[in-house]
Symmetry: C2
Subunit: 420 residues, 2 copies
């Protein structure tokens, strides 16, 4: 019997082999594959929903949390949406093949063209939609994929991948373009992180623990995604009504996601007006929002919990918000650059100079002026699809569209040119 | 006394702090700094040459190899060239601040602008020119640098960095923009590799051992550079005279560099004509080139050493060349994709279809048709300067110009937009 490492390596080799043919397909063929994958998902709907039912029963038995059960659950509408997303990918523009061309004085002609990365590894948790989304984005961009989803979704993922592979084979492409690692223990994830030379990039999607483990242990190149300790700063000159609206949206429209804010910073000159208007909005909101406050904020919210040093670096992903009054914009920027995860940061202001200062000096993928941080998202940015939100600076930053799964290649043509 | 780790961390913190002011300087100020750095190098010439003399004496005493002594040696002309390179950087275009702008249906305006990475770490060996080159490229691109050069060059590097820092301070910028790690043992390099959160990218430059150690041990993001097991393939239809000229240039014009070829692949139908013409060129060449040959090549070079499996993956960096006869272009491409380091690969052919097949399916940063692999170089590509040659696919691939030291930032402006 092969070791888990060898089993994972065998899958990666198959995906690498498949990438040689995938990488030279044309746009029309890859889009045909996407439509065929969509059709296969739809025609396998009963089998996929049955497999999901099995995962849901196991999840209930094993006491999996209710939010995780919700992320795991498929139904006809959700599966149809997943299939439709593959169709939508087919009508997106093709990032491959385009590029620049330039010539050198010696007559060498240099083309810089966009090509696939090769093999993309994904490690993720219980969301079965990631399986189809990632597979679709990889096929769109001429890459092949090795997927390692969470154990809670294993039956659903197997059924989805079986359909996708049939769809790929139906248009004459290598079904190993999409490989699922069937073993869901920690060892299979560790093995995938070590497949240097076979995996061209590894993208973790999920909670903080998962992402940290991948970043620290992988020897293959990684794109770090998703950690979001985001801030909103209410400047002295802010429009109070706008500040209240943006704060409520950025914190509470969907608190579980990475682009929601975790700390609110308020200029001391705005504190009185802002806090009294905000109190009304908090009281009127359907869910209580717990505040963790600095001493100066406590004067306005005497019943609130005091913030500890740890609160400034905590990503609650919940109806909890840390609040701090600052002396000026410089203190706000210093606080943000000390505690943030370089994801999304916002200022509410009517002061042009402060807006520019904030944009220039806050170190983050996305910096907002008078808008909610919740817009950091591939769809909202108009990229058509999203493979994740990069919080690193190398290769890709912020919402990653299909482009992020490509690299470049230089093609140089001469007529016998030598270097002298 | 601080531990080596803490000393390195203190330098990295100083460089991080300096990067906050450097990153918001304008083009004119950064170019002014480059000219001031050049002037400081020139006015410190006696001190720098004296320090270099000290390193050269130690190198001779310690039995450092002659090629390494040559890389270490400075003289007035070399130092002037290093200073001139800083001046040339000042007249290059600025990659920062440019970008794209687009709007969304909800009125959000999104700007995607090019910004500095932050703090660049460099680990390199005995070449003191890397110290000034890297410092110049970092200042050009609004980054700060933490440099860790080899112990052989420590006095030279100290003198160069002292001059550069004085030049930077003279225009009112933070001299900690360029920091040199004065400790040159293995521990200081290991410490630099672990400065996650302080170092934004680490670029190793030097031999294979150094690069492998960085890639395997770093927890900060790395750009892998320089490993070059490059090939030239002589197709059946190749012009024999051109094939001989390109082979000699790609192997022997400067065999110690990463873009020189290490294995020559020859189509069996070209073997007789090519090998007899090539023999004349080999005999006429000023230095003997040692061949490591496959059995079919041995028929033409009966005295040559037989190639072992290891030869196909060896980067000789010397007057040694492995030679193999292949049945067709497919075997050549398979051989290359099995053994190459994704650096530079060339085909010599008159067949359009084979040229296209080679370009499409060979996996490398640079793919040449009828030209020498020796052109893989930032200057030769017209980038004005080069920080290294990336052999990875993420972020930067092939010769890296100033652009490779930048990332992007999304700036989003609204008028109170919330997500619904």
């Amino acid at each position: 019997m092969m070791s888990i490492y060898d089993q994972v390596a065998a899958l990666c080799k198959a995906a690498k082999e498949a990438s040689r043919s995938l990488s030279v397909t044309n746009t029309a063929k890859r889009n045909e594959a996407l439509l065929s994958m969509r059709d296969a998902l739809l025609s396998d709907m009963p089998a996929i929903l049955l497999a999901n039912e099995r995962d849901m029963c196991a999840a209930a038995e094993n006491g999996v949390s209710v939010p995780m059960q919700d992320r795991l659950r498929l139904n006809e509408a959700r599966l149809r949406a997943i299939a439709d997303a593959l169709g939508a990918l087919a009508s997106l523009g093709d990032p491959l093949g385009a590029g620049e061309i330039f010539s050198r004085p010696n007559g060498l002609q240099i083309r810089r063209v966009r090509v696939p990365l090769g093999v993309v590894g994904m490690i993720y948790e219980a969301r079965p939609n990631v399986t189809a989304d990632a597979a679709g984005l990889c096929i769109k961009t001429g890459n092949t994929a090795v997927l390692r989803g969470g154990k809670e979704a294993i039956h659903t993922n197997r059924a989805i991948v079986a359909a996708l592979r049939r769809g790929i084979a139906a248009v004459g492409l290598d079904e190993n373009a999409i490989c699922l690692i069937g073993i869901t223990d920690r060892e299979s994830a560790s093995a995938l992180m070590k497949m240097r030379g076979l995996i061209d990039v590894l993208i973790p999607r999920g909670g903080k623990g998962l992402i940290r483990s991948v970043v620290e242990n992988a020897s293959v190149p990684v794109i770090e995604t998703g950690a979001g300790n985001c801030h909103m700063y209410i400047d002295a000159s802010a429009d109070v009504e706008m500040a209240v609206r943006l704060t409520m949206n950025a914190k509470a429209q969907r608190p579980s996601v990475c682009n929601a804010i975790e700390t609110l910073l308020v200029h001391r000159d705005a504190a009185e007006a802002f806090f009294s208007a905000w109190r009304g909005a908090l009281d009127a909101f359907h869910t209580p929002i717990e505040l963790r406050v600095c001493p100066r904020t406590a004067m306005y919210f005497p019943d609130a919990v005091s913030a500890s040093e740890e609160d400034w670096s905590t990503e609650y992903d919940d109806y909890i918000l840390a609040v701090k009054v600052v002396d000026d914009i410089h203190e706000a920027i210093r606080h943000i650059n000390t505690y943030n995860t370089k994801h999304s940061e916002a200022i509410v202001t009517r002061d042009l100079e402060n807006a520019a200062l904030f944009e220039r000096t806050v170190d983050a993928a996305c910096v907002y002026v008078n808008a909610s941080t919740r817009f950091t998202d591939g769809e909202e940015f108009g990229f058509g699809a999203e493979i994740g939100i990069s919080t690193q600076k190398l290769h890709a930053r912020g919402p990653m569209g299909p482009d992020a799964l490509t690299t470049v290649k230089y093609l140089i043509c001469g007529d016998g040119n030598i270097r002298t």
